[in-house]
Structures are given as structure tokens and as C-alpha cells.
Symmetry: D2
Subunit: 280 residues, 4 copies
């Protein structure tokens, strides 16, 4: 006998752009939103009864409506308002979540100065947030960044690892260390400013990545997370995912050349995958 | 004071192709493998001590070595062997997982008959498996399919849903129902043949999708899952994810035309998202 | 002094789906259309005068309107009608082109039989056409296929090539030959049926690829094209592009294993690139 | 009777990274190279005779070898050396081309200053060059940028266009103007510095895009190109491709809200497509 287990539904990839025309410049944000609802939806699945179903099309409209209504300037605030609106207006919903991604639109630099009304996409990385609330519980807010692509050309070694019959990797005391990092942080308590917290966190991650004497991806990842907890008191824990985007040293001896750590072949696959939570 | 929380590491996107040259034809499989290890890795993170670290490069080699060594003909068997090899040979590892994706290579049809040594990529969908084993525990095996793109032109309605101030969706008694379905099933007990179980499951999913009088995506999803549990006794539960790939009826009245459910605009974003577990 | 050189404009990625509800089944096509116009548009560029500009939004509407109006059942017929409509209704246009891609939607097989109203995406490949007409000239029609992914496990060699100081590739008398083929054919005269011509062409390409004793990608590509010209009299010339999707034989000797042409690593990059026109 | 028409072959997506360890910082470039050869290859196609064939694998090796050998600091210089090497060493080749794409790796900003040995990917855009040489002829060099994503929130109108029975677009005097621009410029004569020419060109394109009172995409595109010809004397002609990435004003009146040009839905498809050459 079949029965319905865990389930949820919602709308993905709802894109919205908001332009706030201020005296000095136009503030512009582009958000990509996903909304998911949990609740009392069993009869819809088992009997085709839609009387408890808020259409996903209406969720999309809710994003547009709220974008106009809201004064939120950060993705965190917008996601919180969205979750609270959905819970308040839908008694059949027991839990709601909103995920928002923000593209890296920077004010374009014209003659060295940020232009008031022109933006340039400044990186592949996305700013992210996930807000979840179970009815009656506190908000769970996880901010993050996705796809921060960085690379250091020195201060990266990997030696002293396990060798077995399948080992072919040579030890290296000076290798390229490239990664497409993802970070996600949770809060001890709501920060004064999500924006300030975000910029401190990103600056810290980048600074430690750059300066660290890396003995492994794990080693650097841990010190990056630890430094964030030291620098940003309102963060409770941070999850870092740092795939190792390998740059292979080319064997040029076949062509009678040396290769003093100069010529590499970057590859996308396979890639190492390292993930850890650093917490207080 | 920072400390290390949950962590894991491994190798992603290890691609391997195996050709078995049989009398009647060449059996060929292309697998994309991800291996992840949990274990006693704290000193690597906190001190840069790699003495407990099996390099991800060696995991890649392990996939190649095992591909040659193994007689596995299904992705499930290969993933099980891989997990067991890693656990057996690495006492520092407490838990290992292997995910394998298999591309849909079909023997090419030449004059109506499958060719013995030529393959054609037959769809975007991937066959998948995830095998996880905690040391000392049983294997957890989840088989699935990812990216099965199907569409029905009739027997799909959506009416009787909640209307509120943000509702603009008109009810429909005959709409297009398109989805890029993902399924993942767990086993009551190991089946006689993973391949037979897989083909029965996929045939059942497709048959119910095609014939169902759908009152909503949820309604069809549930009956698809229920039918799988009825048809395939060794399956314990199935998770189905069926984003609704919308095809919007074009308003042609602006051009003096009618549109009797003929002309649609398919869109990729936004899309509905429906996910549920159906279990015994 | 700057002046305007060649220019064109139009609309890309106009997606439209048409469902024709027939007695026995629902015929369904999904087309992705690009329209481009050449003409007397100089004052728009140099002075911002839009009086000769048909908005690209109207081109999009034209695709929708024509989809309803037309009885075209092939992408070729639809593209021809689109080009002719644009030229006939826009005297300022001197040349128009339409490109149409059709997704490989196949009627889903349920219990071995094609289902009347359910479709499954059956491959990554797209059917394509480009139609161009200069006002007063004949139509130029180029049909094709894009992204046909095929692979053969035998009858492929590569030997006898130039060796120089940078050569490291070993000769091979039995290698994997995989490709993501693109074909584009032009017509001697309009065929009785674009659909029959297309299916004969694709069947011929696939048959020769499968059976050919390949001495190089070039060698097989040429014989594929030659066979099309022999089998399909209305085709004047065919352009084939066949990147070589390499599958590298893994060196397993490092692990004490042999590798009798069984275990390969498929790579996406770098890849060989071979392109040629075969004509009468 | 079939015969071979135009043909060419080569290697695509050869990725190479070069690190030059200087006193003050590490210069790092990541290039993605495509090499194509034309020549006397007929017997390869028609008879499987590979005696005139330089393997594409050797072309890949040539990229690696040259990366070590060369002092080129710009993609233009590297592509020129590559083409000249291939022509000089392969008498069977009548024409060679090299295309190089360079990723936008910027020195990471740490506490406001560029870090000496750490890079961050700073945008989706790629710097590009194509160098072609027919044996005995001069080099043809086309530099460019691909995928420069920019957006302005004001000074963009579109009015006065053709209206017909299929027109539904309302005129706008203040719309969002977003594009993913591609530019490609050819030279009157080799510049003193490809790098300076490139940075002047990009700065000019961005400045005009930002400040222009746009009456259409065409209008802005033309003035961008014209300004480049004025600012950069060594450029002979520039081709600009500026798809119009539409941001649709949301109709919020359905929800009782106004929308004073604040809330938009960005869409990827369909999109306008505008392309023109501006030359002296």
C-alpha cells in the first residue's frame, strides 16, 4: 500500500530586477528566487483536490508584488519578507522557504569612477541566501556566495599523504591552487547589517586564501573559516566547499624543455572536492 | 574558538568508459563517478597533517583500476564495489559514498536493427546511483534517473486551486504538461537484477505519465510513484521531482486569430517545482 | 571619418510549440527561431531614426502568428514562409533569413508502441534549417542536424601521419571514434519532401559511420558525405563537421594491469576538429 | 560524382596557463586555443592517406611547447607566433589560423590593493583574438572581447518604429538597456601595444555605452563604434554585436500597484540581435 511521504512544491527561477532611482545614482539588484512550501497537501497528491494549493504562478506574482512593496535592500531582507508573507497568508502552509541569488552587478568604472546608472557584470559568483521558517519557529537564515573563482600561484604544497599501490601523484611543494569556492554562513543572531557582514566575510575569505601557507586544500579551507569566525562575531558557523580545480604541470621534457613551474594545463574534470563546516 | 564540524572530501567527475568485446556485440558503458570519504581527517584541516589523507588523485586511479578489475555490468554493482574497496583499504575512513551517472548510449539503429559496435546518445537523461556505507552498517543504495524530459499534449488539467489577490492564472482543463523528471528509488532488499528493476521502473513511470488523467502535477506524480511500488516489489520508496516546464498558450486574439490549444510558447524560467516521496 | 558597414538585426531564440490534434495522434513540434533582416537601416544607426525599423518584438509576434496561420509540417516549409512574409510586407528589407531548430521530440514508446499524445526528448541533436532570400533572388535553403553524438568501438585506426619533434601520439589500429557531428546540406532543387530527404540523409550518415573502416576522421567524414550524395539525388552539397571526442586509453600498467582496449577516459577538451564540404 | 570541397582541421579548446614569476608579482594568463589548418589534404579524405597530416595531438603539443618558448605577453603575440610556427614547419599547409580566448583573471584586491600572487575571475567576458595567415600573405589580426555584460537604467528610448497588424510593443522613452556585447576590431597597422589598444578600446566602448542618449540599440552601437575609431587610430574597423537582453516592465496594476519603472523581469529568450560593422 503506497502512501505519501515528505513533499514540497513551489516556483524556481523567478527573476526580478528592481531599480531604485536615487539622487546620486540608481541602485539596481537582480534576484533569482525560489520559493518552496510544505503543508497539508495530501489530498492534492492522492485525489487531485487542489483546494489547498496556492498555484506556483501566484508565488511568482508574489515575488513581483513584494519587490514593489518592499523596502528590502539586501537579499536576506527580501527573502525574510517573502517567507513571512507566505506563512501569514496561507494557513495550509506549515513551512516555507525562500532562496535568493543575486548577480554580481557592479557600477561600471568609467574613467576610474563608478558610473551612476550603468552596471557591468563583475564575476561569475552569485550572492545567495536561504531563509526557512517552520510555522511558530524562528527564522533560519543562511547567507552565502556561490562560484567564487580564485587561484593562487604560490604558497600551496601537498606532501606527506598516504601512498598505496594506486598512487601516482607526485608530491609538490609549490603548486597552483585554484578553486570555485562556495560559502554558506549561519548567524548567532541577526546582524546589524547583512551587507556589512557579507562584505567582511568575503574580504576575510579572500585575504586568508591569498596569504595562507597552504599544506592542503583542507588546511586552507579551515583557516579561512576560522578567520571568518574571528572577524565576524555574529556568524555561528560557516560551510566551505572548495573543489580543487587542477592545473597540471606539463611534462615538457619530451620536447627537450624544462618547466620550472611555468606552464600548466587547467582541467575542469575530474576535480577534487573538499567540504567542511567550521563552527564555534 | 573555532572547531571543525562535519566534513568530507573526494573526487568528482571521474569519467571512465568500458568496452567489453563480446562475440555478438561490444558492450559499452560511460560512467561519471564521484567518490566522497568521511573519517578521521581533523589534523589535516587544523594542522596541515596529510598522513591520513588518501589523495583524490588516487581515488581517480581507483576508479580506473576497478573498471578493469570488476565484472560489474550495472552502475549499481560498480558503485558498491568501489565503496567496499575504499572502506576495506582505508581504516581511517568511517563512511564512503560513490555516485555514478551513466549516459544514455544506445546501440545505433541501422536499417532498423541495433548495430553491434556503434552507439548513439539517445536522450539527455542520465541513469544514476548513489551508494553509501557507514563502516559496519549495511549498504544504502539509491538508484535513479535524472533529466527524463517528457511532455503530454492532453489529459492535463489544473482547476479548483486557491484564488487570492495575487492570482492571475486562468483555470485550464486541457493544458500541455511537460517536465524534466528526476526519480530516485531505494530498495526493500537487493533485487535479482538492478537492470530489470530499473527498466520496469522506468517503463511504469512513463506509462502512467502518458495515460494519467492529470488534475495537477502532484496528482500525476503520486500515481506514477504508486504504480512503481505496485509493479516493482523490491522498491521500498521512490522520490520524484517533476518541475513543471510551462508551455504558455499564446494570446493570438491580438492578431485576429483564435488559438484552439494549438500554439504555445515553452519557457524554461520560471518553472514550477514539485517533489514528493511515495513509500510503502 | 566613421561610416556604417555591413549590418543586420533581428530576433533570436523565439520558441514556439505547435500541437496539431489529429484523429490518430497529436502531431507536436517545438521550434526555436531566429530571424535576421538586412536593408536600408542606416539612419537608425547614425541618427536614431526608427522609421524604417520593424521592431524585433514584432518579428517574435510574426513567428507566433505564422505558426497559427501556416500548414507547414517541416521546419523548412515554416522558415520559407517566414522569410517570404517578411520580404513581402517590408519593402525596406533587402534580404531576410530565418533559422529554425527543432528538438528531437519522439512519440514515447509505451509497451513498445508510440503513444498518441505523449512525447519524450530522444537525443541531444537538433534538426536545423537556414533559409535566406535576397529580394528578387531564389531561396537558399540549407537543412541540417546539429549535435548528433555517435561513437564506434572498432574499425577506427590512425597511423602513417607526420612525425616531428613535438609528436607524442602513438599510432593506433583500433581506437574509439566518437564525435558530435554537425551536417548541413544544400539542394540541387526542392525535394518532393523535406522530411523524406532528411531521414534518408540521416540514415545514410549513420550507416556509413557505423560500417566504415576508418583510417582517419577525414576518411570517414568524406565517405559519409559521398554516400549521401549517392543516396539522395536532390542534395547538391553537404558540409560535415566532426570534432573528434577523444577517449584516451588508460595506462593501467602502473597498477600491474593490462588494458586490452577496454578502459578509456573520455575527455571534452581539447578535441580534434574536422570540417569539409563534399559536393557533386 | 562526389568531390572534396573546402576543408580544414585542427584542435579546439587547448587550454594552457602560464605563470611568469616576477620580482613584484606573478604574471598569470589562461588561454584557450583553437588551431585550424588548410592545405593539401585531399588524399587523406579520399584515400585514408595520412602522410600529409599533422596530428591534432601534435598541434596541442605545439601550444604547450610554444607557451614555454615564447615571450609573448598578449594573446595577439602568442597567436601570431603560433600561426607562423605552423606555416614555417608544415609545407603542406597553405593557410593557418589561431584563435585564443583569455579569461578575465584579475589580481585579487586584498584590503584595496592588488595581491601579488592571487587572482580572482572578474567577469564572464573573454578577451579574444583570431590570427589568420595565407602562405605568402600578410597576417590578418582581429582582436576582440566576447560576453561583456552591461546594463544601463536610464537614457534609453525606443519610439517611432514601424507599426503593423502584428505590433504589440508599446513605445518607451525610458527603458532598461542590457546587452551581452561582443566586439571585434581589425587593425590599420600593427599597434605599438596590443594591450594599450585593447584597454583604450574597451574603455571607450564602456564610456559611450554609459553616457549615450540611446534612441535604439543600433543608435548606441554605432556611436560606440564611431568613438572607438576616433579614440584609437590604429583600428580600421570594428564589428559590434549587441543582443538586446530584455527587461520587461511588470504589469503590477493587476495587484493594485503602480510601477514607475522600478520592477522588471529580465528574460534570456527571446532576445533582440543587432550587429554592425563601423569602419573608416
Amino acid at each position: 500500500m503506497a502512501h505519501l511521504g515528505e513533499n514540497r512544491y513551489g516556483k524556481s527561477r523567478v527573476r526580478v530586477m528592481k531599480v531604485v532611482r536615487q539622487a546620486t545614482h540608481h541602485a539596481m539588484k537582480e534576484w533569482n528566487v525560489r520559493v518552496l512550501l510544505h503543508g497539508d497537501f495530501e489530498s492534492c497528491f492522492t485525489e487531485g483536490d487542489n483546494s489547498m494549493i496556492l498555484p506556483t504562478d501566484t508565488m511568482k506574482n508574489t515575488v513581483y508584488w513584494l519587490a514593489r512593496e518592499s523596502n528590502a535592500t539586501t537579499l536576506e531582507e527580501f527573502a525574510i519578507e517573502l517567507v513571512d508573507y507566505l506563512l501569514s497568508n496561507n494557513p495550509q502552509v506549515t513551512k516555507a522557504s525562500a532562496e535568493v541569488e543575486e548577480k554580481k552587478w557592479d557600477q561600471a568604472l568609467i574613467d576610474g569612477a563608478p558610473h551612476a546608472t550603468t552596471y557591468k557584470l563583475g564575476g561569475p559568483e552569485l550572492q545567495t541566501v536561504e531563509v526557512v521558517r517552520e510555522r511558530g519557529d524562528a527564522l533560519k537564515i543562511t547567507s552565502g556566495i556561490d562560484g567564487l573563482v580564485v587561484l593562487k600561484t604560490t604558497k600551496s604544497a601537498f606532501t606527506g599523504y598516504i601512498k598505496d599501490k594506486l598512487t601516482t601523484l607526485p608530491e609538490s611543494t609549490d603548486r597552483i591552487f585554484g578553486t570555485r569556492a562556495t560559502a554558506a554562513w549561519e548567524y548567532l543572531h541577526p546582524p546589524d547589517s547583512y551587507e556589512t557582514t557579507r562584505s567582511s566575510t568575503l574580504a576575510t575569505l579572500l585575504r586568508v586564501f591569498a596569504d595562507h601557507d597552504s599544506l592542503s586544500v583542507q588546511h586552507t579551507l579551515y583557516d579561512m573559516g576560522k578567520a571568518v569566525l574571528e572577524a565576524v562575531p555574529e556568524i555561528a558557523r560557516i560551510t566551505l566547499t572548495m573543489p580543487n580545480l587542477h592545473c597540471l604541470l606539463v611534462d615538457l621534457s619530451r620536447f627537450g624543455q624544462d618547466n620550472p613551474n611555468q606552464i600548466f594545463v587547467p582541467i575542469d574534470e575530474p576535480h577534487g572536492y573538499i567540504e567542511a563546516v567550521i563552527e564555534r
